[in-house]
Protein backbone atom coordinates (compact mmCIF):
# COMPACT_ATOMS: atom_id res chain seq x y z
CA UNK A 1 0.00 0.00 0.00
CA UNK A 2 1.27 3.45 -0.87
CA UNK A 3 1.24 6.30 1.67
CA UNK A 4 -2.02 7.64 0.20
CA UNK A 5 -3.78 4.35 0.91
CA UNK A 6 -2.24 4.06 4.38
CA UNK A 7 -3.41 7.59 5.20
CA UNK A 8 -6.87 6.88 3.83
CA UNK A 9 -7.03 3.63 5.79
CA UNK A 10 -6.01 5.39 9.03
CA UNK A 11 -8.59 8.13 8.60
CA UNK A 12 -11.33 5.62 7.80
CA UNK A 13 -10.52 3.57 10.92
CA UNK A 14 -10.59 6.83 12.89
CA UNK A 15 -14.02 7.68 11.50
CA UNK A 16 -15.41 4.25 12.42
CA UNK A 17 -14.00 4.43 15.94
CA UNK A 18 -15.46 7.91 16.52
CA UNK A 19 -18.87 6.72 15.33
CA UNK A 20 -18.82 3.60 17.53
CA UNK A 21 -17.47 5.35 20.61
CA UNK A 22 -20.21 7.99 20.39
CA UNK A 23 -22.66 5.17 20.99
CA UNK A 24 -20.74 2.94 23.42
CA UNK A 25 -23.93 1.04 24.20
CA UNK A 26 -23.36 -1.04 21.06
CA UNK A 27 -20.02 -2.36 22.32
CA UNK A 28 -21.49 -2.90 25.78
CA UNK A 29 -24.34 -4.96 24.30
CA UNK A 30 -21.88 -7.34 22.63
CA UNK A 31 -19.86 -7.77 25.82
CA UNK A 32 -22.95 -8.25 27.97
CA UNK A 33 -24.18 -10.93 25.57
CA UNK A 34 -20.80 -12.68 25.77
CA UNK A 35 -20.86 -12.61 29.58
CA UNK A 36 -24.50 -13.67 29.93
CA UNK A 37 -24.35 -16.44 27.34
CA UNK A 38 -21.28 -17.88 29.09
CA UNK A 39 -22.83 -17.58 32.53
CA UNK A 40 -25.80 -19.62 31.28
CA UNK A 41 -23.65 -22.74 30.92
CA UNK A 42 -23.03 -23.48 34.62
CA UNK A 43 -26.81 -23.23 35.10
CA UNK A 44 -27.49 -25.51 32.16
CA UNK A 45 -24.88 -28.24 32.61
CA UNK A 46 -24.57 -28.02 36.40
CA UNK A 47 -21.92 -26.47 38.64
CA UNK A 48 -19.50 -29.45 38.64
CA UNK A 49 -16.03 -27.75 38.35
CA UNK A 50 -14.50 -30.67 36.43
CA UNK A 51 -17.29 -30.70 33.88
CA UNK A 52 -17.00 -26.90 33.42
CA UNK A 53 -13.21 -27.08 33.08
CA UNK A 54 -13.61 -29.69 30.32
CA UNK A 55 -16.00 -27.58 28.22
CA UNK A 56 -14.57 -24.12 29.06
CA UNK A 57 -12.44 -23.63 25.93
CA UNK A 58 -15.22 -24.60 23.52
CA UNK A 59 -17.89 -22.64 25.36
CA UNK A 60 -15.82 -19.45 25.36
CA UNK A 61 -15.10 -19.79 21.65
CA UNK A 62 -18.74 -20.48 20.69
CA UNK A 63 -20.18 -17.65 22.80
CA UNK A 64 -17.52 -15.22 21.53
CA UNK A 65 -18.42 -16.07 17.93
CA UNK A 66 -22.13 -15.60 18.60
CA UNK A 67 -21.47 -12.28 20.35
CA UNK A 68 -19.36 -11.06 17.42
CA UNK A 69 -22.34 -11.71 15.10
CA UNK A 70 -24.35 -9.06 16.95
CA UNK A 71 -22.23 -6.14 15.79
CA UNK A 72 -21.56 -7.36 12.24
CA UNK A 73 -24.84 -6.15 10.82
CA UNK A 74 -24.00 -2.55 11.67
CA UNK A 75 -20.80 -2.63 9.63
CA UNK A 76 -22.37 -1.31 6.42
CA UNK A 77 -26.11 -1.18 7.15
CA UNK A 78 -26.24 2.24 8.85
CA UNK A 79 -24.02 3.89 6.24
CA UNK A 80 -26.16 2.27 3.53
CA UNK A 81 -29.40 3.56 5.03
CA UNK A 82 -28.29 7.16 5.60
CA UNK A 83 -26.51 7.58 2.25
CA UNK A 84 -22.96 7.65 3.67
CA UNK A 85 -22.01 4.49 1.77
CA UNK A 86 -22.39 6.37 -1.55
CA UNK A 87 -19.92 8.94 -0.28
CA UNK A 88 -17.54 6.28 1.03
CA UNK A 89 -17.58 4.64 -2.41
CA UNK A 90 -16.70 8.01 -3.96
CA UNK A 91 -13.67 8.62 -1.75
CA UNK A 92 -10.32 8.78 -3.52
CA UNK A 93 -9.35 5.41 -1.99
CA UNK A 94 -10.41 2.03 -3.43
CA UNK A 95 -13.46 0.47 -1.81
CA UNK A 96 -11.46 -2.53 -0.55
CA UNK A 97 -9.45 -0.16 1.65
CA UNK A 98 -12.73 1.07 3.13
CA UNK A 99 -13.81 -2.54 3.74
CA UNK A 100 -10.47 -3.32 5.38
CA UNK A 101 -10.82 -0.24 7.60
CA UNK A 102 -14.34 -1.25 8.60
CA UNK A 103 -13.21 -4.79 9.42
CA UNK A 104 -10.29 -3.39 11.45
CA UNK A 105 -12.63 -1.08 13.35
CA UNK A 106 -15.01 -3.99 13.94
CA UNK A 107 -12.15 -6.03 15.38
CA UNK A 108 -11.02 -3.12 17.60
CA UNK A 109 -14.54 -2.59 18.97
CA UNK A 110 -15.68 -6.25 19.12
CA UNK A 111 -12.84 -8.77 18.80
CA UNK A 112 -10.45 -6.95 21.10
CA UNK A 113 -12.97 -6.35 23.92
CA UNK A 114 -14.04 -10.03 23.68
CA UNK A 115 -10.38 -11.04 23.90
CA UNK A 116 -9.94 -8.96 27.05
CA UNK A 117 -13.05 -10.29 28.78
CA UNK A 118 -12.48 -13.95 27.81
CA UNK A 119 -9.85 -14.74 30.52
CA UNK A 120 -12.17 -13.39 33.22
CA UNK A 121 -14.92 -15.71 32.02
CA UNK A 122 -12.30 -18.48 31.89
CA UNK A 123 -11.93 -18.16 35.64
CA UNK A 124 -15.70 -18.41 35.99
CA UNK A 125 -15.69 -21.68 34.00
CA UNK A 126 -12.72 -23.07 35.93
CA UNK A 127 -10.53 -23.10 32.81
CA UNK A 128 -7.27 -24.96 33.46
CA UNK A 129 -4.43 -22.40 33.93
CA UNK A 130 -2.46 -24.11 31.17
CA UNK A 131 -5.16 -23.10 28.66
CA UNK A 132 -5.11 -19.32 29.06
CA UNK A 133 -2.21 -18.53 26.75
CA UNK A 134 -3.64 -20.81 24.04
CA UNK A 135 -7.08 -19.20 24.47
CA UNK A 136 -5.73 -15.67 24.13
CA UNK A 137 -3.40 -16.40 21.23
CA UNK A 138 -6.02 -18.33 19.23
CA UNK A 139 -8.58 -15.59 19.85
CA UNK A 140 -6.03 -12.96 18.78
CA UNK A 141 -5.62 -14.81 15.46
CA UNK A 142 -9.19 -16.01 15.07
CA UNK A 143 -11.27 -12.91 15.83
CA UNK A 144 -9.79 -10.90 12.91
CA UNK A 145 -10.89 -13.76 10.63
CA UNK A 146 -14.41 -13.40 12.01
CA UNK A 147 -14.36 -9.64 11.34
CA UNK A 148 -13.10 -10.16 7.79
CA UNK A 149 -15.48 -12.98 6.83
CA UNK A 150 -18.20 -11.01 8.62
CA UNK A 151 -17.49 -8.03 6.35
CA UNK A 152 -18.28 -10.21 3.32
CA UNK A 153 -21.49 -11.42 4.96
CA UNK A 154 -22.49 -7.89 5.96
CA UNK A 155 -21.90 -6.65 2.41
CA UNK A 156 -23.86 -9.56 0.89
CA UNK A 157 -26.89 -9.10 3.14
CA UNK A 158 -26.97 -5.32 2.70
CA UNK A 159 -30.49 -4.14 2.13
CA UNK A 160 -32.03 -7.53 2.87
CA UNK A 161 -34.98 -7.70 5.23
CA UNK A 162 -34.01 -9.23 8.56
CA UNK A 163 -30.44 -9.08 7.34
CA UNK A 164 -29.04 -9.74 10.81
CA UNK A 165 -30.35 -13.31 11.01
CA UNK A 166 -29.38 -14.02 7.41
CA UNK A 167 -25.93 -12.66 8.15
CA UNK A 168 -25.41 -15.09 11.03
CA UNK A 169 -26.63 -17.98 8.86
CA UNK A 170 -24.07 -17.03 6.21
CA UNK A 171 -21.10 -16.27 8.42
CA UNK A 172 -21.30 -18.87 11.19
CA UNK A 173 -20.75 -21.91 8.90
CA UNK A 174 -17.76 -20.15 7.35
CA UNK A 175 -16.05 -19.56 10.70
CA UNK A 176 -16.41 -23.20 11.87
CA UNK A 177 -12.73 -23.91 10.96
CA UNK A 178 -11.69 -21.05 13.24
CA UNK A 179 -13.81 -22.52 16.02
CA UNK A 180 -12.40 -26.03 15.52
CA UNK A 181 -8.75 -25.00 15.69
CA UNK A 182 -9.34 -22.32 18.32
CA UNK A 183 -11.07 -24.66 20.74
CA UNK A 184 -8.77 -27.59 19.90
CA UNK A 185 -5.69 -25.49 20.71
CA UNK A 186 -7.04 -24.75 24.18
CA UNK A 187 -7.70 -28.46 24.80
CA UNK A 188 -4.27 -29.38 23.43
CA UNK A 189 -2.54 -26.88 25.70
CA UNK A 190 -4.39 -28.22 28.75
CA UNK A 191 -3.48 -31.80 27.80
CA UNK A 192 0.17 -30.73 27.48
CA UNK A 193 0.46 -31.04 23.70
CA UNK A 194 2.09 -28.36 21.52
CA UNK A 195 -0.29 -25.81 20.01
CA UNK A 196 2.05 -24.50 17.34
CA UNK A 197 0.29 -26.17 14.41
CA UNK A 198 -3.11 -24.86 15.53
CA UNK A 199 -1.73 -21.34 15.69
CA UNK A 200 -0.06 -21.69 12.28
CA UNK A 201 -3.32 -22.89 10.74
CA UNK A 202 -5.22 -19.98 12.28
CA UNK A 203 -2.54 -17.55 11.07
CA UNK A 204 -2.90 -19.03 7.58
CA UNK A 205 -6.67 -18.52 7.72
CA UNK A 206 -6.13 -14.94 8.87
CA UNK A 207 -3.79 -14.22 5.95
CA UNK A 208 -6.14 -15.81 3.42
CA UNK A 209 -9.08 -13.83 4.82
CA UNK A 210 -7.01 -10.64 4.76
CA UNK A 211 -6.40 -11.05 1.03
CA UNK A 212 -9.74 -12.43 -0.14
CA UNK A 213 -12.40 -10.85 2.07
CA UNK A 214 -11.86 -7.10 1.32
CA UNK A 215 -11.93 -7.91 -2.38
CA UNK A 216 -15.11 -10.01 -2.12
CA UNK A 217 -16.88 -7.53 0.15
CA UNK A 218 -16.07 -4.54 -2.06
CA UNK A 219 -17.38 -6.37 -5.13
CA UNK A 220 -20.57 -7.09 -3.21
CA UNK A 221 -20.85 -3.46 -2.06
CA UNK A 222 -20.57 -2.22 -5.65
CA UNK A 223 -23.54 -4.48 -6.44
CA UNK A 224 -25.53 -3.13 -3.49
CA UNK A 225 -24.91 0.48 -4.55
CA UNK A 226 -26.23 -0.06 -8.07
Amino acid sequence: MGPRLVNGFGRLVGRELVLVLRQPGDVATVLMFFVLATVMFPFGVGPDPNMLARIAGGVLWVTALLAAMLSLERMFQIDFEDGSLDLLALLPVPLWVTVLAKAAAHWLTTGLPLLIVAPVLGVLLNLNPAGYIALLSTMALGTPVVSLIGAVGAALTLGARRGGVLLSLLVLPLVIPVLIFGAAAVDAAIAGFPVRQHLLLLAGMALAALVLCPWAASASLHQALE
Binding site: G8, L12, V18, D82, D86, A89, L90, L91, P92
Partner: protein
Protein backbone atom coordinates in the same frame (compact mmCIF):
# COMPACT_ATOMS: atom_id res chain seq x y z
CA UNK B 1 -10.29 23.10 -19.75
CA UNK B 2 -12.22 20.05 -18.62
CA UNK B 3 -14.86 18.33 -20.65
CA UNK B 4 -17.28 15.91 -19.00
CA UNK B 5 -19.37 14.00 -21.50
CA UNK B 6 -21.51 10.94 -21.96
CA UNK B 7 -22.22 9.23 -25.22
CA UNK B 8 -25.03 6.83 -26.14
CA UNK B 9 -25.92 6.13 -22.52
CA UNK B 10 -28.53 3.54 -21.68
CA UNK B 11 -29.89 2.68 -18.27
CA UNK B 12 -31.98 -0.31 -17.20
CA UNK B 13 -33.50 -0.40 -13.71
CA UNK B 14 -35.43 -3.41 -12.49
CA UNK B 15 -35.78 -4.80 -16.04
CA UNK B 16 -37.25 -1.53 -17.37
CA UNK B 17 -35.29 0.65 -19.78
CA UNK B 18 -35.30 4.09 -18.20
CA UNK B 19 -33.53 5.94 -21.01
CA UNK B 20 -31.47 5.06 -24.04
CA UNK B 21 -29.05 6.74 -26.43
CA UNK B 22 -28.61 9.72 -24.14
CA UNK B 23 -25.83 12.21 -24.81
CA UNK B 24 -24.56 15.07 -22.70
CA UNK B 25 -21.47 17.27 -22.67
CA UNK B 26 -20.54 19.92 -20.12
CA UNK B 27 -17.35 21.91 -19.76
CA UNK B 28 -15.82 24.39 -17.32
CA UNK B 29 -18.20 26.86 -15.74
CA UNK B 30 -21.35 25.29 -17.16
CA UNK B 31 -24.52 24.37 -15.33
CA UNK B 32 -26.59 21.49 -16.68
CA UNK B 33 -30.12 21.11 -15.35
CA UNK B 34 -31.79 17.71 -15.65
CA UNK B 35 -35.52 17.85 -16.04
CA UNK B 36 -38.13 15.24 -16.55
CA UNK B 37 -41.15 13.62 -14.92
CA UNK B 38 -40.75 11.34 -11.89
CA UNK B 39 -39.14 8.08 -12.90
CA UNK B 40 -37.54 9.48 -16.04
CA UNK B 41 -34.08 8.57 -14.76
CA UNK B 42 -32.67 11.84 -13.37
CA UNK B 43 -31.29 10.17 -10.26
CA UNK B 44 -30.01 7.19 -12.25
CA UNK B 45 -28.22 9.50 -14.66
CA UNK B 46 -26.55 11.33 -11.76
CA UNK B 47 -25.44 8.00 -10.27
CA UNK B 48 -24.07 7.02 -13.68
CA UNK B 49 -22.19 10.31 -13.80
CA UNK B 50 -20.79 9.71 -10.33
CA UNK B 51 -19.63 6.23 -11.30
CA UNK B 52 -21.82 4.60 -8.63
CA UNK B 53 -23.79 2.87 -11.37
CA UNK B 54 -22.35 1.33 -14.52
CA UNK B 55 -24.07 2.20 -17.81
CA UNK B 56 -25.79 -0.61 -19.69
CA UNK B 57 -24.74 1.03 -22.93
CA UNK B 58 -22.48 3.91 -23.92
CA UNK B 59 -19.66 5.52 -22.03
CA UNK B 60 -18.89 8.52 -19.86
CA UNK B 61 -15.57 10.30 -20.02
CA UNK B 62 -13.70 13.16 -18.38
CA UNK B 63 -11.27 14.88 -20.77
CA UNK B 64 -11.49 11.86 -23.02
CA UNK B 65 -10.61 9.34 -20.30
CA UNK B 66 -13.35 6.81 -19.60
CA UNK B 67 -14.64 6.76 -16.00
CA UNK B 68 -14.31 3.03 -15.46
CA UNK B 69 -10.56 3.32 -16.08
CA UNK B 70 -9.91 5.19 -12.85
CA UNK B 71 -12.87 5.41 -10.52
CA UNK B 72 -10.83 6.71 -7.54
CA UNK B 73 -9.62 9.74 -9.48
CA UNK B 74 -13.18 10.42 -10.59
CA UNK B 75 -14.43 10.13 -7.00
CA UNK B 76 -11.84 12.69 -5.90
CA UNK B 77 -13.00 15.27 -8.43
CA UNK B 78 -16.72 15.16 -7.70
CA UNK B 79 -19.19 15.94 -4.96
CA UNK B 80 -22.44 14.01 -4.99
CA UNK B 81 -25.62 14.94 -3.15
CA UNK B 82 -28.20 12.16 -3.26
CA UNK B 83 -31.68 11.87 -1.79
CA UNK B 84 -30.19 10.97 1.57
CA UNK B 85 -28.30 13.52 3.62
CA UNK B 86 -25.57 11.22 5.02
CA UNK B 87 -25.84 13.05 8.35
CA UNK B 88 -24.67 11.12 11.43
CA UNK B 89 -27.02 11.96 14.33
CA UNK B 90 -24.45 11.12 17.01
CA UNK B 91 -21.89 13.64 15.74
CA UNK B 92 -22.06 17.41 16.08
CA UNK B 93 -22.86 19.54 13.04
CA UNK B 94 -19.22 20.57 12.61
CA UNK B 95 -17.95 17.00 13.09
CA UNK B 96 -20.27 15.78 10.35
CA UNK B 97 -18.43 18.01 7.90
CA UNK B 98 -14.92 17.66 9.26
CA UNK B 99 -15.09 13.85 9.09
CA UNK B 100 -15.67 14.03 5.31
CA UNK B 101 -13.16 16.83 4.85
CA UNK B 102 -10.57 14.68 6.65
CA UNK B 103 -11.39 11.64 4.52
CA UNK B 104 -11.32 13.50 1.20
CA UNK B 105 -8.41 15.89 1.53
CA UNK B 106 -7.19 15.87 5.14
CA UNK B 107 -7.81 19.64 5.22
CA UNK B 108 -10.52 20.78 7.66
CA UNK B 109 -10.04 24.55 7.15
CA UNK B 110 -13.07 24.83 4.84
CA UNK B 111 -15.55 23.48 7.38
CA UNK B 112 -16.46 26.64 9.30
CA UNK B 113 -16.79 28.90 6.19
CA UNK B 114 -19.07 26.27 4.64
CA UNK B 115 -21.24 26.15 7.77
CA UNK B 116 -21.40 29.96 7.84
CA UNK B 117 -22.48 30.07 4.22
CA UNK B 118 -25.49 27.88 4.97
CA UNK B 119 -26.32 29.60 8.26
CA UNK B 120 -25.29 26.65 10.43
CA UNK B 121 -22.31 28.26 12.18
CA UNK B 122 -24.21 28.91 15.40
CA UNK B 123 -25.33 25.27 15.48
CA UNK B 124 -21.80 23.92 14.92
CA UNK B 125 -21.48 22.31 18.34
CA UNK B 126 -24.94 20.77 18.74
CA UNK B 127 -25.58 17.10 17.90
CA UNK B 128 -26.92 16.66 14.38
CA UNK B 129 -29.84 14.56 15.65
CA UNK B 130 -31.46 17.83 16.82
CA UNK B 131 -31.54 19.29 13.30
CA UNK B 132 -34.74 19.73 11.32
CA UNK B 133 -35.13 18.22 7.84
CA UNK B 134 -34.23 21.52 6.20
CA UNK B 135 -31.21 22.01 8.44
CA UNK B 136 -29.99 18.48 7.64
CA UNK B 137 -30.27 19.32 3.95
CA UNK B 138 -28.30 22.52 4.55
CA UNK B 139 -25.63 20.46 6.29
CA UNK B 140 -25.45 18.06 3.33
CA UNK B 141 -25.03 21.03 0.98
CA UNK B 142 -22.42 22.63 3.23
CA UNK B 143 -20.43 19.39 2.87
CA UNK B 144 -19.75 20.07 -0.80
CA UNK B 145 -18.53 23.58 0.05
CA UNK B 146 -16.06 22.35 2.66
CA UNK B 147 -13.65 20.71 0.23
CA UNK B 148 -13.01 21.72 -3.38
CA UNK B 149 -14.04 19.48 -6.28
CA UNK B 150 -14.51 20.53 -9.91
CA UNK B 151 -17.70 18.52 -10.52
CA UNK B 152 -20.89 18.85 -8.49
CA UNK B 153 -23.68 16.32 -8.99
CA UNK B 154 -26.78 17.47 -7.10
CA UNK B 155 -29.88 15.30 -6.99
CA UNK B 156 -32.90 17.42 -6.04
CA UNK B 157 -30.83 19.63 -3.73
CA UNK B 158 -33.68 22.05 -3.10
CA UNK B 159 -35.90 19.61 -1.21
CA UNK B 160 -36.88 20.99 2.22
CA UNK B 161 -34.86 24.18 1.76
CA UNK B 162 -36.25 27.60 2.77
CA UNK B 163 -35.73 30.81 0.76
CA UNK B 164 -32.53 31.78 2.58
CA UNK B 165 -30.93 28.37 2.04
CA UNK B 166 -32.05 28.38 -1.59
CA UNK B 167 -30.29 31.72 -2.07
CA UNK B 168 -27.18 30.31 -0.39
CA UNK B 169 -27.26 27.33 -2.77
CA UNK B 170 -27.63 29.62 -5.78
CA UNK B 171 -24.70 31.73 -4.58
CA UNK B 172 -22.63 28.61 -4.01
CA UNK B 173 -23.31 27.34 -7.53
CA UNK B 174 -22.58 30.78 -9.01
CA UNK B 175 -19.24 30.91 -7.18
CA UNK B 176 -18.49 27.33 -8.21
CA UNK B 177 -19.03 28.08 -11.91
CA UNK B 178 -17.04 31.31 -11.68
CA UNK B 179 -14.17 29.20 -10.43
CA UNK B 180 -14.52 26.98 -13.51
CA UNK B 181 -16.52 24.22 -11.81
CA UNK B 182 -19.14 22.10 -13.50
CA UNK B 183 -22.56 21.69 -11.87
CA UNK B 184 -25.19 19.15 -12.85
CA UNK B 185 -28.50 19.45 -11.00
CA UNK B 186 -31.76 17.59 -11.17
CA UNK B 187 -34.58 19.77 -9.96
CA UNK B 188 -38.23 20.61 -10.52
CA UNK B 189 -37.73 24.16 -9.27
CA UNK B 190 -36.57 27.27 -11.12
CA UNK B 191 -33.21 28.18 -9.71
CA UNK B 192 -32.15 31.79 -10.18
CA UNK B 193 -29.21 30.82 -12.37
CA UNK B 194 -28.34 32.39 -15.69
CA UNK B 195 -27.12 30.67 -18.84
CA UNK B 196 -27.92 27.14 -17.92
CA UNK B 197 -28.32 24.21 -20.28
CA UNK B 198 -31.31 21.94 -19.83
CA UNK B 199 -31.46 18.24 -20.56
CA UNK B 200 -34.99 16.87 -20.88
CA UNK B 201 -34.83 13.23 -19.87
CA UNK B 202 -38.28 12.61 -21.31
CA UNK B 203 -36.70 12.95 -24.78
CA UNK B 204 -34.66 9.81 -24.22
CA UNK B 205 -37.42 7.62 -22.86
CA UNK B 206 -37.85 4.31 -24.62
CA UNK B 207 -41.20 2.81 -25.41
CA UNK B 208 -41.52 -0.68 -23.96
CA UNK B 209 -41.61 -2.48 -27.32
CA UNK B 210 -38.14 -1.43 -28.43
CA UNK B 211 -36.61 -1.66 -24.96
CA UNK B 212 -35.58 -5.29 -25.36
CA UNK B 213 -33.48 -4.48 -28.40
CA UNK B 214 -31.27 -2.27 -26.26
CA UNK B 215 -30.88 -4.82 -23.54
CA UNK B 216 -29.56 -7.50 -25.85
Amino acid sequence: MSLFQGHGLGCIRGGRTVFANLHFAVSDGEVLILRGPNGSGKSSLLRLMAGLLGPEAGNISWDGEALDQDSETHGARLHYIGHLDAVKPALTVAENLSIWAALRTGDRSGVMPALTQFGLDRLAEIPARLLSAGQRRRLALARIMATPAPLWLLDEPTVALDAAALAALENAIAAHRNGGGITIISTHMDLGLEQTTTLQLGDFAVDPDTAWGLAS
